[in-house]
């Protein structure tokens, strides 16, 4: 078996090498087919099966292999895909989706309500141990299915071949937006259970592309156009995804683009100014303010960050502009709110008054009020190996310079970092970031700031995402109210108030920068290239020139 494998390896290597040389020349469309092949590099995904597909790398593949009820447009609005309609009852706890008829999986199985129920049930089932199943946690019967008490998802039912009924355990008028997440994908019968390895590595979906062969771990994934796609068919033939090693994949993507090996690439932050100068005039430089935020999480319940004044002192002490320019080369913009601008309906700038501009006097005043004295120690944690080392030092230095605090930087590998934050008695501040799973304000406010978001275990370990342990009943009430509000405008208003309360008044956390995404895209070869909501190239929509 070893021998066979190594022989394959050699052949593979030669093919790759030839491909690399073939693509060296820029306008050399080897045999007409090369022009319709989109090439890019990603890091090894955790999973590409919707059952556990979670980060943008896996998402890139899953989103192109599967099509669900909705998709999110770049402006945060929903675009119906297989859902011809999706309506909630008046209470907002029951949703009915009509599904487009007569579409098929690439193996010929029909995509109907059953296929959706199958997919969702499969994701939540205990044996799948899915990291993304929790997105379905407001559907009735989630707990029983997830804990193995039941093998049926009681909240789901098919009211006809193409009608999917979803019962929620609590009202949510934005549930349809959640279904844009890939875990809500339908799967064919052949998928089997969530831990079916063969399906995990070669999922059969109903998306614009299908797998060519299996996932070659750490090497490549190849997608080809699904000519039986039920919606608008893709215009490119093939997507060749090279899997790069994570620690320098960004550099490799960039170099790969420069050498003509890739059609799409991220860049190392330091190289961005150079890349921008070179590629922007050629229209190969794409920018997208995506749905995410970088912020500093403050531990609200422990001294010294246990008062809004203390947190405001820190926030005022930070010169976001200067770091954005000096460290991020002007490529990140300071954030003045928690919610991202892509959420057009709820986004309001300037929510956080301490975020507007560095104000040393105010910082000092608040510090005094909070009892923060020069020489006091402030723990500042961050996870290493993810490119935060530099700017974290800059922030620390500013806090030290302005407030005279002794900032103790503590870089840890992320599992340890997480454990440290979860620990009871965690104190100080911690670098953090959040990006949207789906375009709802709730997707930010609820996990990060609601009392439920703390989810402490018996030892006081915060298992939820609200590790800053901000807890304000008034805020919690507002979120519940918003979820129950049918009118979108009304709902947005409540969310705005809630955001203002938590982020400005209580300064539960300290926003730093908006998440901006930059890509190099081979617009010479492809038309219509964009960065989409998930920060992926919109492969299904582009066309070769």
């Amino acid at each position: 078996m070893r021998g066979v494998k190594s022989a394959k390896w050699v052949v593979g290597a030669i093919v790759v090498a030839m491909a690399a040389t073939a693509c060296g020349g820029n306008n050399n469309d080897s045999g007409g087919k090369g022009g319709a092949t989109f090439r890019l590099g990603i890091t090894e995904p955790v999973a590409i099966d919707p059952v556990n597909s979670q980060e943008s790398e896996g998402g890139l593949v899953t989103h192109n292999l599967f099509t669900g009820l909705y998709r999110v447009n770049t402006d945060g609005t929903l675009k119906p895909m297989l859902a011809t309609s999706g309506t909630a009852n008046d209470k907002g706890d029951e949703w009915t989706f009509e599904i487009k008829k007569d579409t098929k999986f690439s193996n010929g199985e029909p995509v109907n309500a059953e296929a959706f129920i199958r997919g969702w049930t499969r994701a939540v089932a205990k044996s799948s141990a899915s990291d993304v199943a929790y997105h379905m946690n407001e559907i009735d019967g989630f707990k029983d299915l997830n804990s193995g008490k039941s093998d049926k998802f009681s909240g789901l039912s098919a009211a006809g071949e193409y009608t999917l009924k979803v019962k929620l355990s609590k009202p949510d008028f934005e549930f349809n937006k959640r279904t844009a997440h890939s875990v809500f994908s339908p799967v064919p019968k052949v998928a089997g259970a969530g831990d079916n390895k063969s399906f995990n590595d070669a999922p059969i979906g109903n998306g614009p592309f299908k797998m060519e062969g299996s996932w070659q771990h750490n090497q490549k994934i190849t997608l080809v156009r699904n000519d039986d796609y039920g919606l608008d068919k893709a215009k490119i033939d093939k997507v060749e995804i090279s899997i790069l090693n994570p620690s320098s994949s960004v550099t490799l993507e960039y170099k790969g683009f420069e050498s003509g090996q890739f059609d799409w690439a991220r860049m190392p932050t330091p190289q961005m100014p150079v890349a921008k100068a070179k590629y922007e005039p050629q229209k190969e430089w794409l920018k997208y303010d995506s749905s995410g935020i970088n912020y500093v999480q403050a531990f609200n319940t422990e001294s010294p960050m246990n008062s809004a004044d203390a947190r405001k002192a820190i926030s005022y002490a930070i010169d976001r502009e200067q770091i954005a320019k000096g460290v991020f080369q002007g490529l990140y913009e300071p954030a003045t709110a928690l919610l991202p601008p892509t959420f057009k309906d709820v986004y309001k700038p300037d929510v956080c008054s301490s975020c507007m501009k560095q104000d040393k006097d105010k910082a000092k005043q608040y510090a005094e009020k909070a009892g923060l004295k020069p020489g006091d120690t402030l723990d500042f944690g961050y996870n290493t190996g993810a490119g935060h080392e530099e700017w974290v030092q800059a922030v620390a230095k500013q806090i030290e310079d302005v407030l005279g605090l002794k900032v103790k930087l503590n870089g840890l590998p992320f599992k340890e970092a997480l454990a440290k934050q979860q620990e009871k008695g965690a104190k100080g501040i911690w670098r953090s970031a959040w990006s949207a799973d789906y375009p709802t304000a709730d997707n930010f406010l609820s996990p990060l700031l609601s009392t439920d978001g703390i989810n402490p275990d018996a030892n006081g370990k915060a298992l939820g995402d609200n590790r800053g342990r901000y807890s304000n009943p008034k805020f919690d009430e507002m979120l519940v109210k918003a979820r129950e509000t049918k009118d979108a405008g009304e709902r947005a208003k409540i969310y705005n108030e809630a955001e203002k309360l938590a982020v400005d008044e209580d300064q539960a956390l300290i926003p730093l920068w908006k998440r901006s995404q930059y890509r190099l895209a081979n617009t010479k070869k492809f038309d219509g290239l964009e960065i989409n909501f998930q920060e992926e190239p919109n492969l299904a929509e582009i066309s070769p020139k």
């Binding site: 150079v274 000096g326 460290v327 290493t384 080392e389 530099e390 230095k397």
Partner: protein, 308 residues
């Protein structure tokens, strides 16, 4: 007894005159003592260069605050990634910190980690070696098996595991390097002492009734110690590289600390764009390692000049 008689000359049955032990060849290692070793060491140009480099390193580390032109931690976000200039001789890094001062301060970590870890390794090696020697067979076997276990870990891998447990920082780096170096040290000490113990001249000294301590000080020590010193010089160089490697991999000392591996690591993203970022710390580390290698070579050659 016959063997002894032969090497002792006087009274031997051969016609070779009594005094004829010395020859025209360079004096063999066995009669050399400190002075001889030093003389040969100093006569070796590379060794002297190495010594100068090492001394310079120590001096730099000790006098870093006087040599450095800036506070190595002071940031200047308005002047990041500046190329080398009159004010910033080695340029500035991504946070606008003065690279020259950071390279200078970096010598401190190198010296401290290099010396402390090897010192500790020698200490552990010696203590365990002594235990093994004192308690004899069973303990010796157990200790040597333990040494085998630690020996089997590649240095970096072992060190990383320890650092995972203890967290990043100077102390963990020192400890982790020591923990996975002592086995080598103890093996070397053991074999070096064993081999020297068996040499003719020690046997001879014993037969002449020299006391054990005298044998050790006058005969075993100079050669053993010089051998060990040569090994230590190499080891310190190795430890400095290992320490920088750990930082390069992002598991060494904290990233804000001015340290060569850190600097080179954070320069990776600027490869081909801002090459001065990795070049200066690289030169520093290369000179340092070469210094120790030259000294190690010099010591070895001074002991065994035949191989030059």
């Amino acid at each position: 007894m016959t063997e002894l008689a032969k090497s002792q000359g006087p009274g031997a049955a051969t016609a070779e005159p009594a005094a004829a032990t010395g020859t025209a060849e360079p004096a063999p290692a066995r009669i050399t003592q400190w002075g001889e070793i030093r003389h040969r060491f100093m006569a070796n140009r590379l060794a002297v260069v190495g010594l100068v480099l090492v001394l310079l390193l120590f001096l730099t580390a000790a006098l870093a605050p006087l040599i450095a032109t800036h506070d190595p931690y002071a940031q200047d976000l308005g002047n990041t990634l500046a190329s080398p200039s009159g004010d910033h001789w080695f340029g500035t890094d991504a946070l606008g910190r003065d690279q020259f001062s950071r390279v200078i301060y970096g010598s401190r970590i190198a010296v401290v980690v290099g010396l402390a870890s090897i010192f500790l390794a020698c200490l552990i090696g010696l203590v365990l070696g002594a235990l093994a020697g004192y308690f004899g067979k069973t303990v010796d076997t157990v200790i040597m098996r333990i040494a085998d276990i630690f020996f089997a870990f590649p240095l970096l891998i072992g060190a990383i595991v320890i650092i995972l447990v203890m967290g990043r920082g100077v102390m963990p780096v020192i400890l982790s390097l020591a923990i996975f170096s002592w086995a080598t040290v103890s093996r070397l000490l053991r074999s070096s002492i064993l081999s020297v113990r068996e040499m003719d001249y020690v046997t001879a000294a014993k037969a002449l009734g020299a006391s054990t301590s005298r044998i050790i000080i006058r005969h075993i020590m100079p050669n053993s110690i010089a051998a060990v010193m040569s090994f230590i010089a190499f080891s310190v160089g190795t430890a400095i590289v290992a320490e920088a490697s750990l930082s390069y991999l992002g598991v060494g000392v904290s990233p804000e600390v001015p340290e060569w591996g850190n600097m080179i690591s954070s320069a990776r993203d600027f490869m081909g764009v801002k090459d001065f970022l990795w070049m200066y710390p690289s030169v520093a580390i290369v000179l340092t390692v070469l210094g120790f290698v030259f000294v190690g070579d010099g010591l070895r050659d001074a002991l065994d000049p035949k191989l030059r």
